[in-house]
């Protein structure tokens, strides 16, 4: 857990937190689940790359190109290490969404015969099933719907409890026909952390591959993807103090080796003729064209920053904030939390509905007080439908969030129903 002094040192590292909004109100940033703010060291790392080492990587033999290639591969090693995997198992993408789509399209391409016999296990067809959950972000739902539409496979899903937790009673949806199970590690709406071990066991028992959406876990918890024993995982740099424009796909080495490429072009080939192309080994096979090199360098600075704080300390700090958020919201009459009401196995991400007031209006009043929360369906329409609402407001914390931030939010939330005359009805 961070001491007050540590936290204020952390906050000083994030230039944006010092700004004011709406006629000079201090910013209370509680939208970290959407995107995190960036510490100065991340900005400096990118800037330094451009000022001293910028060149095309894996393509040149001159001094700059050597240095750029080294920076790029060192970033890969650092980020891979941060999530407990080998550098050769980490593919750079522009965001987590691309990472998940990459896996889905590898299945499509294998189904179309690409990748030959080695890619056999990625072929899908009628009778095969892809399993997701009702808690998924659209990024881990729509690509699988589209994959099923392209291949004739069937989409099924695990259900949720009324608290928004994965309902393990529905685990028997995973069966002999299941080929892929895609689930989120932690929900960006309810904050609930999924029982990954149980799902992995069920999936592996029937030979299905597990794709983990680790977008919300990697920034907030210590995550070891090898220990979790998932087959693929996706996460985004911008949510973990890193730059926009960079994300990553983890894939078990032998799976990456067997997968046909998805995006094709420069730097991922071996021999190209007009009629035929052979492909480089992973991870290069999946990194077509000039990559987001400066951003990988920035992301390395971000994981080093988090690593120095220690992910256990980060998680403990945020657990305390989760408790304070839940306690604070519970004090405000007419507010219902969407998700677990206790802080166990839960992120400091609290979505809620205010009786009689639409989330957009809630968000507007909070914004007027300088409090930035997200309103809408948070890219999880089915989850909202399951919990009986069309949309919600969401306050989400990060390593730089203070108790004062939470208190300012709760104070402003207390004024919402009065303003809209909802308390009276």
């Amino acid at each position: 857990m961070l001491t007050a002094a540590e936290l204020s040192a952390v906050r000083a590292d994030f230039p944006l937190l010092a700004r004011t909004v709406r006629d000079g109100r201090p910013l209370v940033y509680l939208d970290t689940a959407a995107t995190s703010q960036k510490p100065q060291c991340v900005l400096d790392a990118e800037q330094d790359f451009y000022e001293r080492r910028n060149a095309a990587v894996h393509r040149g033999a001159h001094a700059l190109a050597e240095e750029a290639t080294e920076a790029y591969e060192a970033a890969r090693a650092a980020v891979a290490g941060f999530v407990g995997v080998a550098p050769g198992e980490l593919v750079w993408t522009k965001n987590a969404t691309e990472a998940i789509n990459l896996v889905a399209y590898a299945f499509s391409n294998a189904t179309a015969g690409r990748g030959g016999d080695a890619a056999r296990r990625f072929r899908l067809g009628p009778g095969d099933e892809v399993v997701v959950t009702e808690a998924e972000h659209h990024a881990n739902l729509v690509p699988w719907q589209e994959l099923c539409a392209r291949t004739g496979a069937t989409l099924r899903w695990l259900g949720l409890t009324d608290e928004g937790r994965l309902d393990l009673g529905t685990l028997d949806v995973i069966g002999e026909r299941t080929r892929v199970v895609a689930l989120t590690h932690a929900s960006n709406v309810t904050g609930a952390i999924s029982p990954v071990a149980e799902v992995v066991a069920a999936a592996h028992a029937v030979g299905a591959l597990v794709v983990l959406d680790a977008c919300q876990s990697v920034p907030h918890l210590p995550v070891d993807l090898h220990a979790l024993d998932v087959d693929f995982a996706a996460f985004s740099g911008h949510k973990m103090l890193g730059p926009t424009g960079v994300g990553a796909l983890y894939g078990r080495r032998e799976l990456l080796e067997a997968m046909p490429p998805v995006l094709t072009g420069g730097s991922m080939v071996e021999v190209v003729t007009m009629t035929e192309t052979t492909y480089a080994p992973p991870p290069q096979r999946f990194e077509a064209g000039t990559q987001m090199v400066a951003q990988t360098v920035g992301l390395r600075a971000a994981v080093e920053y988090l690593g120095e704080l220690g992910m256990d300390a980060v998680a403990a700090h945020e657990a305390a904030l989760a408790q304070r958020l839940l306690d604070g919201v519970a004090q405000v009459p007419g507010v219902r939390v969407l998700g677990p009401s206790t802080a166990e196995d839960r992120l400091a991400t609290v979505a809620f509905a205010v009786d009689g007031v639409h989330p957009h209006d809630v968000g507007q009043l909070l914004d007027d007080a300088g409090v930035a929360v997200r309103v809408g369906h948070h890219c999880a329409q089915p989850l909202h439908r399951r919990l009986g609402v069309a949309a919600s407001a969401r306050a989400s914390a990060g390593v730089y969030t203070s108790e004062a931030d939470v208190d300012a939010f709760v104070e402003a939330l207390g004024r919402v129903r009065t303003f809209f005359g909802a308390g009276a009805r």
Binding site: H360, L365, D368
Partner: protein, 154 residues
């Protein structure tokens, strides 16, 4: 701008009363049209029906259904007042004026336009919040689409 300026009493009242709410009449057929619109950010929805007069020059009836924030609900409610019984050409020019208002980014209205917009001028404050402009326009988008369908249906 203060929240009271944004959420004028007229808006809060319309959001609660919602004139024209509750679908009636036909979704299609001669002189009838319906449109369904979604605000992808928040999932807010509106389904709106129009019926034209027999000669196709006036809006004989408007009705709608939807979930949304006070801005979108009030705006569609005001729309219903403005449009019912009005000439189609007038409705179109009114919709264009409202569109201009929403994209004015808080610039002051000239008195003629303000006069013209009547109750709808209460939404002026919304134009300062780009993310809310879509809310105020949701019903109007549905109206335009429904009118096209209604006149094609003839």
């Amino acid at each position: 701008m203060s929240m009271e300026q944004l959420y004028q009493q007229l808006i809060l009242d319309h959001a609660r009363e919602r004139h024209g709410h509750g679908l009636r009449g036909d979704a299609s057929g001669p002189g009838a049209g319906e449109s369904f619109q979604v605000n992808p950010t928040c999932g807010d929805e509106v389904r709106l029906r129009v019926r034209l007069s027999d000669d196709g020059t006036r809006v004989a009836d408007v009705s709608w259904e939807g979930v949304g924030c006070s801005i979108s609900q009030a705006s569609t409610s005001v729309l219903s007042d403005v449009v019912t019984g009005a000439g189609v050409a007038d409705v179109e020019s009114f919709a264009a004026a409202f569109d201009d208002l929403m994209h004015s980014r808080g610039a002051a209205l000239d008195p003629a336009t303000e006069e013209r917009l009547g109750d709808a001028a209460a939404f002026a404050g919304v134009s300062k919040y780009p993310a809310r402009v879509k809310c105020a326009l949701l019903g109007w988008m549905a109206l335009r689409d429904a009118l096209i369908k209604a006149s094609k249906g003839e």
